[in-house]
Every structure is written in structure tokens, then in C-alpha cells.
Amino acid sequence: MKMLTDAFMNDFWKDALSIVSAAGFILTAIGVWLAWLQMRHTTSAAQAASQAAISAIEESRSQYNRYVIAQAYRLLTETRVYLKNNSWDAAAMRLGDLADLLIQVAGDDTIWAELAGRIQTMENTFERVHRGESSFSESLKGKWYKLDRELRTKIAENLKPFNDETVTC
């Protein structure tokens, strides 16, 4: 007769159950590990995609800024030619275009912003010279040469090959 205090399973079944439990635990752990690996892979893929998008935007911005600065160089050269011919109104117009262009790349760059402001004032001054309300005096000539020199330096810095500044300017 079977007593209530008798063991439910004999030793063989107990061992078998232990082995199955251990195997189950190992399989669960492997599953968790695989899931973690998959998650990591997915995260790094998302990060890579995001980084690639950021790089693409930065590259586009850099290309655009280089284009704008090359245009600025052209406008500055034209302004110089007009000044040489005493065409104050044409020079003023080119300076206005130049200021509008540089405002686009100024962003957080205080030097570009300051130069754009000075160009706008110089544009008004040349318009006044054109109307005969002012003259291209020696002091004004000196101020124009200074502005021209500073602009050329800043443009040259940004048009250098492999220059990182164009990305952030």
C-alpha cells in the first residue's frame, strides 16, 4: 500500500527533471543573449543611419557654404572693378548683394555677421557718394581697403581645401 509520506518520484525521475530544468535555463539564457545581441545590432544600425544622415546634412551645408563664399569672392572682385572705374552705384549694388549673401552663412559666426554689417553701411556710403552727398576721401578709402582686406582673408580661410570651418560657419 502507498503511504502519503512516500516520495512522489523516484530518484531517476528527479534527476531527469533536474537535467530538463538546467537545459531549459541554459536555453533561456541563450535566448536572452541572442535578443541582447539583436537589440545591440539594431541600435548601432539606427545610430549609423542617424550619423550618416547628419554627415550628409553637414556635407550639403559645407558644399552650400563653399558655393556662397565663392559667389561672395566674385561679388567682391566685381565691387573692386566698379570702384576702380568710380561706378559708385554699381559698387553699392554689388556690396548689397554681398551683404545679403554673407548673412546666409553668418549663422553663429560673429566675424561674418560683423563684416556683413560693415558691408551694408559701406553700401549706403557708396550710394551717398554716387548722389554727391559724400566723397571717397582718403579716410574712407582707408576704411574700404581695410574692409576689403579683412573680407579677402576670411573668404580665403573658408575656401581652403579640407577646411572644416565651412561646415560650421
Binding site: T121, S134, S135, S137, E138, S139, L140, K143, L147
Partner: protein
């Protein structure tokens, strides 16, 4: 009514006296590049010089009576009156800073045989 020519005439007389060190110029409290001479009837003449970075240099003289600006002439570099106004400003600057006296002293010391320079 005061006109430009009358005021410029006054400024010319002021320049003559200033060149002979007979004007008590003071630095104006309002601007660094401004000098004033006060008269007994609470009027004053203020001369100023401006050099904005992208505009022509500008010299200005202003008559102030009991705090009110009653007349002013100004001229940009290249204008007919610019050199006169600029000269008046330069002479006020010389008078207040005393740079001419300093140059005289430096030249005197350099032409002597002794050591030059004060040891601190």
C-alpha cells in the same frame, strides 16, 4: 539768427586762441572723442570727432546754452569745412592731453648726455 558762417568765424577765433594756449579745454563727459570749452554765461562749445568703420570721418562743433544744443556745424572728410573743424578738434586734443609738452620733454631728454627714463 546764427548761421554757419558766423559760427565758423567764432570757431576760427577759438582756434587762434587755442593755438596760443589761451583756451581752457576740458574733456567732455559725454564722449571720449569730445572736448569742450565753457564760457561765463553757462554756454559752451563742444568739438567732437567721429570715425565710424564704414563711413567717412566726421568733425562737429556744437554750441550749447544752459544745456540746450542751439547750433551745430559738422563736416565729413572731403567737405569744405572739414579741415577747419578737424584742426580745432586736434588742437583741443593737444591742449587736453598735453602731448606737445611731452614731446618737447622727450626731445630735451634725448638730446642730453644723461641717462634717459625714470626708474620705478
Amino acid at each position: 539768427m546764427l548761421n554757419d558762417q558766423q559760427f565758423l568765424g567764432i570757431l576760427r577765433s577759438l582756434l587762434e586762441k587755442s593755438k596760443n594756449d589761451k583756451v581752457h579745454w576740458k574733456r567732455s563727459g559725454r564722449r571720449q572723442d569730445s572736448f569742450l570749452v565753457a564760457f561765463n554765461d553757462e554756454s559752451m562749445i563742444v568739438v567732437s570727432f567721429f570715425s565710424p568703420p564704414s563711413e567717412p570721418d566726421l568733425a562737429r562743433a556744437e554750441l550749447i546754452v544752459r544745456g540746450d544744443s542751439v547750433f551745430a556745424v559738422q563736416a565729413e572728410d572731403g567737405d569744405p569745412n572739414y579741415l577747419e573743424l578737424r584742426e580745432l578738434y586736434e588742437d583741443a586734443f593737444r591742449s587736453v592731453t598735453g602731448w606737445d609738452g611731452a614731446i618737447e620733454q622727450i626731445e630735451k631728454e634725448l638730446s642730453g648726455d644723461g641717462d634717459v627714463g625714470v626708474s620705478f
